[in-house]
């Protein structure tokens, strides 16, 4: 029996209800706004908990550069709020315009291109509150930018896909937003040249916000590197000139063009209507082999975060899912019948799952 619980009473009462629900349910499946439908496997017999009703800004002190949010808060709201104070979440949360919630963003580890410069969600999440498998409310981490007390539950929850507990409150460290941005797009005929340039830039002392490697028409017309820099406006021209000495520039994007380009990238617009979108953690050295394979099978793909993430957009088939191994479907249908948790876990992961959710309620 699937039931949708979306309580609308006051926050504390709602949390108590959710605790009760966890205690009394056998299987639970947590969803946010479902902007990443790839996470939502069929959950027969599981109670579905929807978090968007648990939303809002708990506290925000711009002078402290720290914001605390309820899990169901839409990321777009947060982005707009921070922007008013010249601040931002530097990890470029994904699918903002598709309604992504902050809880879902953490649980799915949905960081975008900007993760390159200062780090991902794990690096900005300071504290959390969650309901564990026993129905207890647990706080981990803190509200200050530096904290080494106790186990680091906040990091554990990043990428946990709702399998370790119901995240309902999160505290983030935020950064001052660069006052201006510019983007250079460089084109290469060969992949290895593009990868070499990407590595060279990433190892250079140039302060780069994001580097994305994008095959043009599935690689048939070459590859482009999109390189974004940001900072004080009066220094930007100088830095752009310098950047141009590294790569053959085919396009310069500024102001609104720059904004639009990256907004589209973080919304994963390129992957729309291409079947499923799969995320693979990789390193730059893996790109060559992977791209060859994709190119042969006419599969669209992008390499994000300076070659640390491969996004593959494809219609699933069995052959693929076996080859990919460590991959996560973000959007679209799942490759095979996916029962979610537990997948293959090592002893450490097993022990943690057991400790936090001994009856394996969260799937």
């Amino acid at each position: 029996m699937n039931s949708l619980v979306a309580p609308d009473t006051k926050v504390n009462e709602r949390i108590c209800e959710l605790q009760e629900l966890v205690r009394t349910s056998r299987k639970l499946h947590i969803v946010g706004s479902k902007s990443k439908d790839g996470f939502h496997h069929s959950s027969d017999g599981a109670t579905t908990i929807s978090t968007p009703s648990l939303s809002g800004v708990v506290s925000y002190d711009p002078l402290e550069f720290v914001v605390t949010l309820l899990g169901g808060t839409r990321v777009l709201e947060v982005v707009e709020l921070l922007e008013k104070h010249g601040q931002y979440l530097p990890f470029d949360p994904l699918l903002v315009d598709r309604g992504a919630t902050i809880g879902g963003t953490v649980a799915s580890n949905a960081a975008g291109p900007g993760r390159f410069r200062f780090g991902g969600i794990r690096d900005f999440l300071l504290g959390i509150r969650f309901i564990d498998g026993r129905g207890n409310c647990i706080r981990g981490g803190g509200q200050v930018v530096k904290n080494a007390a106790g186990f680091d539950y906040p990091k554990l929850m990043v990428g946990s896909r709702g399998t370790l507990g119901l995240l309902y409150e999160m505290t983030f460290k935020v950064f001052p937003k660069p006052e201006s941005y510019a983007t250079i797009v460089a084109t290469f005929s060969k992949l290895d040249e593009a990868v070499a340039s990407m590595n060279k830039l990433a190892s250079s002392p140039l302060d780069i916000e994001a580097i994305e490697l994008i095959p043009i028409e599935m690689g048939s017309r070459g590859y482009e590197l999109a390189i974004r820099i940001g900072g004080i406006a009066s220094a930007l021209m100088n830095r752009l000139n310098r950047l141009q000495k590294f790569v053959p520039v085919s396009m310069l994007l500024q102001d609104h063009d720059d904004w639009r380009y990256w907004r589209a990238a973080t919304n994963l617009e390129w992957a729309r209507d291409k079947g499923s979108l799969v995320k693979l953690p990789i390193t730059p050295n893996a790109i060559a082999a992977m791209d060859k394979q994709c190119s042969k099978l006419l599969i669209d793909r992008r390499y994000s975060v300076g070659g640390n993430v491969a996004w593959i957009a494809t219609v699933w088939n069995d052959q693929w899912s076996q080859q990919l191994g460590d991959a996560q479907t973000f959007l679209g249908p799942l490759p095979i019948e996916d029962n979610g948790y537990p997948r293959e876990l090592g002893p450490f992961g097993r022990a943690i799952k057991y400790a936090l959710d001994p009856e394996s309620k969260f799937i």
């Binding site: 780090g119 200050v144 946990s160 399998t163 220094a235």
Partner: protein, 481 residues
């Protein structure tokens, strides 16, 4: 006559690497926090991951607790030997196994010294960012266990933010691999959970670190103020302006005196508060940032201002700052280093409160801190030879810790809970939070042998029995190989 347990260890180690004589044991009885001493029953000096794994299994089979130790620099007593336990001294496992300048990562053994990673990376124009003050001594393994910070956390985060992958041995001798080489992952962030677990989850055997490009330029300034509060206010203004310095540090007069005597970095000896700010990054950006910083500092009205004119002067400024804890040894035979965090906006308030407490108790407190992070390091000075002095110092320390909790901060920013602050952890967290940590700990270390007594008070966590099948074994959560 060897005990059966020592006899088992001697199957793993040659005599020279299994210490059981007095001179060997007393040498390991303290780490960087000498207020605690405990003599281990043996010290082993493994030279390979395999030896560590066999040692842990040996401990698991015999229910003997162990603590892994690097170079013993913990300021919270984290590597203090456990009663009736052994010390696994990791400092000989100090190889950098691989350094990949293109993908910007290093695979290292846990005993490698922090600064040696930085040195190895430097020849490729790269940097290992976390820089604890003890970076010339402390090992990466210890940094992992305590999620060490440093002056440059402000921009790039603590140790945890720079660890990509880990090979670990769990307290029951099982080996696991967490994370990998990519910056991203699709699993729960187990690496993040392991880092900072203070040795309670086992021992890291192999560590993959992230390296970043070395900043093109540094611009480092020192400014001196007539009051500590004025220095704190300057920090608040700089943060509010939206500048993101690589580091922002404050030292008070006592620590200035001590550091100047030790290193001669040219600190103004009459300053009540010395502020060090460092901008780093691409030259043209930093030049613009510097103009703004200069304006802000001018407005804060320091009576002394100096920019490091070359790499040597910069190095001296930092050397002074990083020597401050130890240099305080010149002022007092003994001291307790505190590590609390307060919200940055309440820094000035916290400092005044600490000064008040210091006066009230009649105990000198020196202050050195990572102002940009709100991470305070009050050094409470006492003379251990005077009766009751340590106890009195601890009372003051307790008040400072409680102040940090009351202000919404943390009891530790980077030194960890260890022995020293374990009684305060339950004051920072609710009973249900604490219970959850015990549950995790029990699931990972059911026999309670991995650095027991640190971070979590032992009394609350009775060791589970190991006779017969453990319930977790039945559940398939743990296994003995």
């Amino acid at each position: 006559m060897l005990s059966p347990f020592i006899a088992k260890l001697s199957e793993i180690y040659p005599d020279a690497r299994l210490l059981t004589h007095d001179a060997g044991l007393v040498s390991y009885e303290s780490d960087g926090l000498t207020a605690f001493r405990e003599k281990p029953i043996a010290v082993v000096l493994p030279e390979s991951a395999d030896e560590v794994i066999r040692t842990v299994r040996c401990c698991f089979d015999s229910h003997v607790p162990f603590v892994a130790r690097g170079n013993g620099t913990s300021l919270s007593g984290g590597s203090l030997p456990v009663k009736n336990g052994i010390v696994i001294s990791m400092n000989r496992m100090n190889r950098i196994l691989r350094l990949d300048p293109v993908q910007r990562l290093a695979v290292v053994e846990p005993g490698v010294i922090n600064l040696n990673v930085t040195k190895a990376a430097a020849s490729h124009g790269l940097l290992y960012a976390p820089d604890p003050s003890s970076q010339s001594v402390c090992t990466i393994g210890g940094n992992i266990a305590f999620n060490s910070g440093g002056a440059h956390c402000l921009k790039y985060g603590m140790t945890s933010n720079h660890v990509l992958g880990l090979k670990i041995v769990l307290p029951n001798g099982t080996v696991d691999t967490l994370g990998g080489e990519s910056l991203e992952s699709i699993h729960p962030d187990y690496v993040g959970m392991f880092v900072g677990s203070e040795g309670l989850f086992g021992i890291a055997l192999e560590i993959t670190l992230r390296l970043i490009p070395k900043p093109e330029v540094y611009r480092t300034v020192m400014c001196a103020y007539r009051s500590l509060k004025a220095a704190g206010d300057a920090v608040s203004k700089i943060i509010a302006s939206g500048l993101l310095p690589g580091a922002m540090e404050i030292m008070d007069n006592l620590s200035i005196q001590a550091a100047e005597a030790a290193v001669h970095p040219g600190y103004p000896l009459d300053a009540a508060g010395l502020l060090i700010v460092e901008l780093e990054g691409e030259a043209s950006q930093v030049d613009e940032e510097f103009k703004r910083l200069h304006g802000l500092i001018e407005a804060s009205n320091p009576y002394f201002f100096k920019e490091a004119k070359d790499a040597f002067e910069r190095q001296q400024i930092w050397k002074g700052r990083k020597s401050a804890f130890s240099a305080v040894g010149r002022l007092s035979p003994d001291f307790i280093v505190q590590d609390g965090v307060v919200p940055r906006g309440r820094l000035g308030e916290a400092l005044e409160e600490i000064q008040r407490l210091s006066k009230q108790h009649g105990i000198r407190v020196a202050n050195v801190f990572h102002a940009g992070d709100g991470n305070l390091h009050p050094l409470i000075l006492y003379d251990g030879k005077q009766k009751g002095a340590l106890h009195h110092a601890e009372l003051l320390a307790a008040e400072i810790i409680e102040l940090c909790i009351r202000f919404g901060g943390s009891i530790t920013g980077e030194h960890g809970v260890g022995m020293e602050k374990r009684t305060y952890l339950p004051k920072m967290y609710q009973p249900s939070d604490m219970e959850s940590m015990f549950q995790v700990r029990r699931a990972i270390d059911p026999t309670n042998i991995a650095n027991p007594g640190k971070m979590l008070m032992d009394g609350d966590a009775p060791a589970l029995t190991t006779s017969g099948m453990h319930p977790l074994e039945k559940a398939g959560v743990i296994s003995r190989e």
